[in-house]
């Protein structure tokens, strides 16, 4: 047997395996179940994101499949009444943070598992390839938590994003900075620090533009290589310019390393305003939380909203029982994305991709019927929810408090963070 034979044998074995998975998927559909594909990094550097996401989607499935006394779409009934009480069944796929794997997994979910829709995918770079595949097959893609603005600007008909994107998030950040400046705080310079995939580069592009528009000077513009063994030289450059505000766009591993390196180099930034991602993850605060007192991060969600929307606590408790941690910026968006999708399937009364797509496009859920700070879920022509208002949170004494916008704020911001 030569190498070519081995490869051929491997390929045919893999094909047989996926055919058998496919037939199981088809059987499941006959049994009054709606199969939905869920694509996340379940292994690789961001596997914890996938594990947490799985708990979030199981929570959403519980909300949809069982009766709960909550004013959330699809929660009151067991299953989807529009399809005779059919339950949703989630099929998970692992993209490992790799756009190409995401594309092939999406294809597998669509052709083999016959999923009605796909939800994903955390990494914006992966959401880009998965949504393109969905578009080609006419299967709706609900983008739960990827925030790159470029994603909804590709004239796609099957792409929907209930949560905010980085322009809206960064808009809130700069509006907040501008407000502080007008109140007399010294904020003149910003330092951008971002990872080198779509998420980081898109985020920094928006921030660079907004900084220019509002008269903030960008004194550091550092694009770094993600998952590096060391960030010393990069952080040294940030330290040299000591901007009034450091604005990182980084995933979890780099967030931990970044903060540790800052401490090692004796650099205490005056303020950090983060584009969530790593800075919304509990592990980062477990590891280096003592160095992040006063950190501000954008978010789609805050636990202290429970005072205004009591279902926040109920749903958080449901999630916490599964995951052993509170809902965060990512997991809250994942639960809500699945609910929004289920609501559309319920109204479409079918698993036909085009009809679900139309139902998604017609979605109109008032903010009170979500557990997010959004004023509404209503998609624009491009599939972006235009009413997904972001919030800013500040990390104070082991928890996050909402500090912006004033309509939902529960505390005044501490500024500078390292006072």
């Amino acid at each position: 047997m030569n190498r070519r034979d081995i490869l051929l044998a491997g390929a045919s074995a893999a094909a047989t395996a996926s055919v058998s998975i496919g037939s199981r998927g088809a059987l499941a559909q006959g049994a009054k179940e709606i199969t939905i594909g869920v694509i996340y990094p379940l292994s690789g550097a961001n596997a914890q994101i996938g594990v947490d996401a799985k708990h979030a989607f199981e929570t959403a499935a519980d909300l949809i499949n069982n009766a709960h006394d909550l004013d959330l779409p699809t929660a009151r009934n067991a299953g989807l009444p529009g399809l005779g009480g059919a339950k949703v069944k989630l099929v998970y796929a692992d993209h490992q943070g790799d756009p190409q794997k995401g594309r092939s997994e999406a294809e597998r979910l669509i052709t083999q598992d016959k999923v009605a829709a796909i939800v994903g995918a955390y990494h914006s770079a992966v959401s880009a390839t998965v949504s393109a595949t969905c578009e080609r097959y006419g299967v709706p893609f609900v983008c739960a938590d990827s925030s790159s603005p470029s994603l909804h600007r590709r004239n796609m008909k099957f792409f929907f994003r209930p949560a905010a994107h980085d322009e809206m998030f960064s808009g809130a950040m700069f509006q907040f900075l501008d407000n502080l400046k007008k109140k007399g705080k010294k904020i003149e310079t910003v330092g951008l620090f971002f990872e080198d995939t779509i998420f980081g580069t898109d985020s920094s592009n928006v921030q660079r533009k907004l900084a220019g528009d509002l008269g903030f000077k960008v004194v550091a513009d550092i694009k770094y290589r993600s998952n590096s063994p060391s960030l010393t030289a990069e952080i040294q450059q940030l330290k040299n310019v000591d901007a009034d505000v450091v604005m990182p766009s980084t995933y979890t591993t780099d967030a931990i390393l970044m903060v540790k390196t800052m401490a090692e180099l004796g650099y205490k930034p005056k303020n950090i305003v983060a584009q969530a991602a790593g800075f919304s993850e509990k592990v980062v605060f477990d590891a280096v939380g003592d160095k992040l007192q006063g950190l501000i991060s954008r978010a789609s969600f805050s636990l202290d909203m429970a005072t205004k929307r009591p279902m926040v606590k109920t749903i958080n408790d449901m999630y916490k029982t599964r995951a052993g941690r509170d809902l965060n910026d990512n997991t809250s968006r994942q639960v809500m994305a699945m609910v929004v999708l289920a609501d559309a399937i319920d109204r479409a009364k079918t698993v036909d991709g085009a009809k679900i797509r139309d139902a998604l496009a017609a979605t109109d859920i008032p903010g009170e019927r979500t557990f997010m700070p959004w004023s509404r879920v209503k998609f624009g022509e491009d599939g972006q929810n235009i009413c997904a208002d972001p919030v800013l949170l500040q990390y104070v004494k082991d928890s996050f408090v909402t500090i912006f916008p004033s309509t939902v704020a529960v505390a005044e911001p501490l500024w500078p963070m390292n006072a």
């Binding site: 292994s43 914890q48 550092i222 694009k223 060391s230 010393t232 030289a233």
Partner: protein, 292 residues
């Protein structure tokens, strides 16, 4: 950039480079001994980091104190990897090189999967070390104690390895086995035993690196991959099989990487290292200190 900032970058690069060298030397040792590239080397590093983490939880001792214990544990892991996997892969009649690659590569995937299953993909870190988070400042240049400790361990390990190779009977047996595997059997040296000890030694060295890293880096089932690639480049740059080469190349890689990150956009910081590597490979395919 000020001189002080430049000194900072150089010092950080050099300290990191010493740790790179410590990670790489085990790989080089195993290759030099038996011409096998261990593709599970990064995973050995990861096991060592989890071992350090677990032992800290269990004993409440400082990872610095636990370093010899972790190294001993890793010695067993390395020996077992040889006796349980590599020994069989080496018996392949055809395509032996490919079989060895697949065997160690498969071992790497197995270890990664097992780690993710057993330890979950959550990020861990050791916060109880006496060295943790401590920095020492000389004229505006910050030298983190965990990295200084890492550099120190690296130098001591290299010195120990040098003495072992040149002053002991085992070192002579190792050298002889590497020169001629067939001839050593004639003088009564058990080739398998030497190989198993060689693997154990290689794993123990990367085990020390794991303890050092666990004090200032996060611990995760995939953590090995970030360092493994650098270890391969380091070994190739220094010369496959050359222990001294690994030390020199590790320091060169650390410094070149740090300097590239300030000269070019940091996202391109690996370019300097790979450019240097390519250059060396073109001009001197055996690496800087290779004997091949």
């Amino acid at each position: 950039m000020t001189t002080q900032a430049l000194l900072q970058v150089l010092a950080s690069g050099l300290l990191m480079g010493l740790i790179y060298a410590l990670i790489a030397v085990g790989l080089s040792l195993i290759f030099g001994l038996m011409d096998v590239v261990n593709f599970a080397h990064g995973e050995f590093l990861m096991i060592a980091m989890y071992a350090a983490f677990g032992l800290v939880l269990l004993t409440a001792l400082d990872p610095i104190v636990l370093a010899p214990l972790v190294a001993a544990l890793m010695f067993c892991v390395g020996g077992l990897a040889y006796l349980g996997v590599v020994r069989f892969a080496m018996r392949a009649k055809a395509n032996a090189g490919m079989v060895q690659i697949f065997a160690t590569f498969g071992l790497a995937i197995l270890i990664q999967g097992a780690a993710q299953y057993l330890f979950t993909p959550d990020y861990r870190n050791i916060q109880t070390s006496w060295l943790g988070g401590k920095t020492f400042e000389v004229g505006g240049v910050f030298l983190p104690l965990p990295q200084i400790f890492g550099g120190f361990v690296s130098i001591v390990a290299f010195a120990g390895l040098y003495l072992l190779m040149t002053r002991t009977d085992f070192g002579k047996a190792l050298e002889a086995t590497r020169e001629d595997q067939g001839a050593v059997a004639l003088v009564g040296i058990d080739r398998n035993k030497v190989f198993a000890i060689g693997w154990g030694l290689g794993a123990a060295l990367v085990g020390l690196a794991g303890v050092v890293l666990s004090i200032f880096y996060y611990i995760h089932p995939q953590v090995g991959s970030a360092f493994a690639l650098i270890a391969y480049v380091t070994v190739a740059l220094g010369g496959f099989g050359s222990v001294f080469g690994a030390l020199a190349a590790g320091m060169i890689v650390g410094v070149v990487e740090a300097i590239t990150a300030i000269v070019l956009p940091p996202a391109l910081k690996s370019i300097g290292v790979y450019a240097l590597y390519l250059g060396v490979v073109f001009i001197r395919p055996s690496g800087l200190f290779g004997r091949l």
